[in-house]
């Protein structure tokens, strides 16, 4: 781990290179990332705001922010499972800490996230009047105070998500290198998880069904760890009220996940070059 930190110039450079690489011969370059995110968020926002009878002014930003965060999580999880398999050549030919490959991948995803964040700012500007005053989304019980400087809370939130991304990639990467069934399993379930996580739908909807307290239905969201990860970044970005229990859940995942990743690293780090 420490070795990887010392080589931070390496993975920072490589991650940046990966992005430049992807757009080497294209005209508008990295803007493609932003454009594709923008169109997807727009289409999903328009469709689901009608389906769930939501006000576009608050729902479109909601979908946009959620989808940007989801894209980061999706990238980390799917690329994390292949992080060592894809770098087989480098692992077998150049001695460097295997954490380098993980950090390169996470850094690349952070850069993608930064590109996508442009879409959030565009949407924020367009719907600024609707978002800056207190509002309620359809089905909500409490009122949201609206976007203010508290949006900066998204920064520590995202930092925590990134810290989690590293252990996820380390742990899943090691396991997937040994057991090649894991990547396809994860790839096939990740779509399901997308629809189960409140991204294109809103948790308040669960209350609306029963016209009040959603009862057991709330568990659909609460039992999904990814909901909490999305929420600690999304709620501040949209000026929504945020329950502290999201932070507790994410904090617990951080501690347990890192402990598992450390155990895996200690026991199997040296085996990765044999398995790839």
């Amino acid at each position: 781990m420490r070795g990887a930190w010392r080589q931070r110039e390496l993975w920072a450079h490589l991650g940046w290179q990966d992005i430049k690489q992807r757009y080497r011969r294209s005209v508008i370059g990295p803007l493609w990332i932003t454009i594709s995110m923008g169109t997807t968020a727009l289409a999903l926002g328009l469709l689901y705001s009608q389906l769930f009878d939501q006000k576009l002014g608050t729902f479109l930003p909601y979908v946009t922010a959620g989808f940007i965060i989801w894209n980061f999580i999706l990238g980390v999880v799917t690329e994390g499972t292949g992080v060592f398999i894809d770098n087989e050549g480098l692992i077998k030919h150049l001695p460097s800490p295997i954490t380098v490959h993980v950090l390169r991948m996470v850094w690349r995803q952070v850069l993608f996230f930064a590109h996508n964040l442009v879409v959030y700012f565009v949407v924020l500007i367009i719907y600024f009047p609707a978002l800056t005053q207190p509002y309620k989304m359809e089905g909500d019980i409490v009122q949201h105070p609206g976007v203010s400087w508290s949006a900066l809370m998204a920064i520590p939130g995202f930092a925590l998500v990134v810290i989690n991304a590293v252990w996820v990639a380390l742990l899943f990467g090691i396991i997937s290198t040994r057991f090649r069934d894991i990547p396809p399993v994860i790839h096939s379930f990740i779509n399901l998880i997308f629809f189960m996580t409140p991204i294109v739908w809103h948790v308040g909807i669960l209350n609306k069904v029963t016209d009040g307290d959603g009862g057991w239905r709330v568990l659909i969201a609460e039992l999904n760890p990814l909901y909490h990860f999305v929420e600690i970044v999304r709620a501040p970005l949209l000026g929504q009220t945020q329950d502290w229990h999201h932070w507790v859940v994410v904090g617990a995942f951080t501690v347990v996940g890192w402990a598992l990743a450390m155990i895996a690293m200690r026991n199997y780090r040296a085996r990765v070059s044999y398995w790839v």
Binding site: E9, H13, Q17, K92, H93, L94, S96, R178, R180, Y274
Partner: protein, 271 residues
């Protein structure tokens, strides 16, 4: 002090075929109980009981048939594989030149590849920027350095890779065969630089099938056979028993003088 020590080291590769690499088989294997060796993963012993001790100034040639374990040994010495049994201790900055296609991106320019390779070998960005000119001069690639790497010939790639590793002052230099693609003139230049490097600071281990390269670069040799060290000694002795003939026999007097070897092996009784 630069050193490489390897004690009783073995490297075993588990060979997972598509089936045994799955969780299902592992789970079923446990439930099923005594399947014994049938359910186990087959293992290839790539290296077996290796004992090597190298010190400052050693220039070692690795000889042996294909599949004898030369490349695996180099990777063990590079710290890429940790021994599955036994132990190894490598002190010093390692610079390997193995597969020339790896760690180089064909789409980006030579300059950028120099930077990435240098970073991988533990250099900082600023340190590499200082060395770029030196590398450009040594490799003689000139304007080609700003072209994408895919336009390079094999020999040009070798030049680039050698240029990087020799410029960063490594203490342990590990070369696999494949650097044979460069032309004679460049080889001479590279030889001087490599010799200089070894004299200054370290150890060279070089796997090759070419007598000429070995004679130029190495003074001792290790003969690998079936994953074991079959013979270890001076280059002349080892290569003579490996090939069945003296590699120095047909060299020109000039070359012999340069590398300081008599034409005839002492005690061999003449030609």
């Amino acid at each position: 002090m630069v050193s490489i020590d390897v004690w009783n080291a073995s490297v075993d590769f588990p060979i997972f075929d598509a089936k045994s690499r799955s969780l299902k088989k592992l789970a079923l294997g446990k439930v099923g109980g005594k399947i014994g060796s049938e359910g186990r993963v087959p293992i290839i012993e790539a290296l077996h009981d290796i004992n090597i001790s190298l010190r400052h100034g050693d220039r070692v040639g690795l000889v042996g048939h294909n599949g004898a374990g030369k490349s695996t040994l180099l990777r063990l010495l590079a710290g890429i594989y940790e021994p599955t049994r036994g132990s190894s201790r490598i002190v010093g900055k390692v610079a390997p030149v193995f597969d020339l296609g790896v760690g180089m991106d064909p789409e980006i320019s030579g300059y950028e590849n120099i930077m990435i390779r240098g970073l991988f070998l533990g250099m900082g960005r600023k340190e590499m920027e200082k060395r770029v000119d030196d590398i450009a001069e040594f490799t003689e690639l000139g304007d080609y350095l700003s072209m994408p790497l895919r336009t390079y010939s094999t020999g040009m790639r070798v030049r680039l890779a050698l240029g990087v590793v020799t410029s960063i002052n490594p203490e342990i230099l590990l070369l696999d065969e494949g650097i044979g693609a460069v032309d004679a003139a460049f080889l001479e230049k590279a030889r001087d630089r490599l010799n200089d490097l070894v004299k200054r600071s370290g150890i060279l281990v070089f796997a090759s099938h070419s007598d000429d390269f070995l004679v130029e670069l190495c003074n001792t040799a290790i003969w690998m056979d079936e994953g074991q060290v079959k013979m270890q000694g001076s280059l002349r002795e080892v290569v003579t028993s490996y090939k069945g003939r003296d590699p120095y026999e047909f060299l020109s007097a000039e070359t012999l003088e340069r590398i300081g070897q008599p034409r005839v092996l002492s005690g061999n009784g003449g030609e």
